[in-house]
Symmetry: C2
Subunit: 343 residues, 2 copies
DNA sequence: TTGAAAGCGGTACCAG
DNA sequence: CTGGTACCGCTTTCAA
């Protein structure tokens, strides 16, 4: 890579000092420093001619700020996370910040590696959607100790700024809705990378099942991985139970789509024979067949809110721990219906 | 943000010089420089105690290399691009490089902004999946001029390293396959951000239609945006034509899923009344109802190949322009079938 | 109105 | 074996 032109080169070509170039590049010509119109033009020409571009790292080193915030996502294969990323990026861009996106692929080692890499880069703030929060309290404390604003997404870590969502309420609504439709045997497909993630939905599932006096037992809970493939297999297992569940609550739309397929291949019609409800309301949820009943949360807003929290803390590090709540909403579509008449 | 500990702090605490700390941190203790086991331990302890982390930017500034390569993606809402990103990230990680992901949201201004931002960061290499190549020859030339390895994904820019895919062949296969099934009126849903993108598929569509003597006319070509919503509406328009097409080639799976929905809502069964074939083979393609007939290309491999090209050029800038071809494969599933008997 | 110079945090050469 | 020190490119006082 050929050496890029530096401020020095520009200064020499324009016949001025480096300081002058810096002033002009940073637009200080109006405010503090006054520079001849003519000098300014000469410098601008030189910049143009050389194709000079300021060296962001050198600048950061001097200024002590990178204008970058990091976003740690657990799984790029789930559209739900992209929506979060989109929102975060948008909010960051609006403030002139860059977003450094890191995908940890649900791998705890990569997660640690990523947090360290980001820390070494001295990013100005960090938004975390951790897969294995329990393994990372150390990291987080170290970051917090360095006064790097950290925001946790979709989870609650004590003493840390959080963006929480209404999936707990959503789970309650789903369950109540299914019960109201007459379903008694409701299964849960719990496809997550770590027991912690999405556990609130499992807990609520359990509680509602007990409260309503439905058939209990881990029998109707099917843990699995995070891919459609895993969801497909889990649905197969769950639907082979006897008596078979008449409704399924699935941890997210991605797996729900796979569950629909599993049902179809077993000769079950959705929603006539089997109701399926899930979470996220990804863009495709309303376009697949049948359109999914799902719990929507404004994922982009989650991303935006997280970044806003980072900025807020950047501005006032002494702020008490903030908490933003993004409510959820049950969207009823065609994948759910009345429980089939008992055979 | 409290000042982080520096090399200097470590050196002071360990009672050694900064140079020594640097040696140890960089693991030069075995090779060039020799350092007492004891000194080493003292320094390591100091590092631990202070929570010292090397300042990546300062390091980059000195070394002139960032160990980062940039990846410019046009649209994070299309799973296809995520697969590419996953592959690229994996390959980069394996080589100890970080991937700086930038999403341009199909917006040409953002694209320019992003290329500049990356350039200012002095990233070591760049993988571009440009939406508006025609508007960026300048940028690319500027980058190339700076000897920053640039790899173009899914397009051919003369004199630049490229990773091309088999979507041209794939389009031919799709068309031949549909014709062989007896389809004569084949529509095209061409949902792209720029006329340039995916144009190879449109051209081939035209050519095959003419060669086979099928009903011609732009009537069966429906350009639209990149969202499922846009694909849905385009399908509605296309299926309202009279005579109605009996088969649809859709630019990607995301829109194909929406097209299936549009058909369903018009009372058309897929594949009995309407065949639909598309491109990408995203993960969900085999799980939606009906499973999609689609042209698969190994997207992760595209990402990996692109990053490999960057490394190759980093190693030998004088290399002649490289070209990697990722072949495609027609995956026949249930969304296509024999043409319906004419009414 | 412009320029000289002191760092920001590391690295690596050269001397001891 | 270890330390002193000259940069990397840029910002920003302070003087001229």
């Amino acid at each position: 890579m050929r050496k890029q032109p530096t401020q020095e080169d520009v200064a020499r070509l324009a016949g001025v000092s480096r300081a002058t170039v810096s002033y002009i590049v940073n637009g200080l010509t109006d405010g503090r420093v006054a520079i001849t119109e003519e000098t300014q033009q000469r410098v601008l020409d030189a910049i143009e001619k050389l194709g000079y571009e300021p060296h962001a790292m050198a600048r950061s080193l001097r200024l002590g700020t990178t204008h970058t915030i990091g976003l740690l996502l657990p799984d790029m294969r789930n559209p739900h996370y992209w929506q979060i990323a989109c929102g975060a990026e948008q909010q960051a861009q609006d403030a002139g910040y860059d977003l450094l996106l890191v995908n940890t692929s649900l791998d705890p080692d990569k997660e640690i590696h990523a947090v360290n890499a980001l820390s070494r880069r001295r990013i100005d703030g960090l938004v975390l959607l951790l897969t294995f929060p329990e393994r990372h309290t150390q990291e987080i404390e170290r970051l917090a100790d360095k006064r790097v604003p950290v925001v946790a997404l979709g989870g609650r870590i004590p003493g840390v700024d959080c963006v929480d969502n209404g999936y707990r309420d959503g789970a309650v609504h789903v369950m109540e809705y299914l019960i109201q439709l007459g379903h008694r045997r409701i299964g849960l497909i719990h496809g997550v990378a770590s027991e912690m993630l999405g556990q609130e939905r499992r807990l609520i599932y359990r509680r509602v099942v007990q409260t309503a006096g439905l058939p209990v037992g881990a029998d109707y809970i099917e843990p699995c991985g995070t891919t459609p493939e895993a969801g497909y297999l889990a649905a197969q297992r769950l639907l082979s139970r006897s008596p078979r569940p008449t409704a399924l609550m699935v941890i997210n739309d991605l797996l729900a789509i796979a569950a629909v397929r599993a049902a179809a291949e077993m000769g079950l019609r959705v929603p006539e024979d089997l109701s399926i409800a899930s979470f996220d309301d990804i863009e495709l949820a309303s376009y697949v067949t049948p359109p999914l009943t799902t719990v929507r949360v404004n994922a982009e807003e989650m991303g935006r809110a997280a970044v806003r929290l980072v900025f807020a803390r950047l501005q006032d590090p002494a702020l008490p721990p903030q908490q933003i709540y993004i409510p959820s909403e049950l969207i009823v579509r065609a994948s759910t219906g009345p429980a089939p008449v008992q055979t």
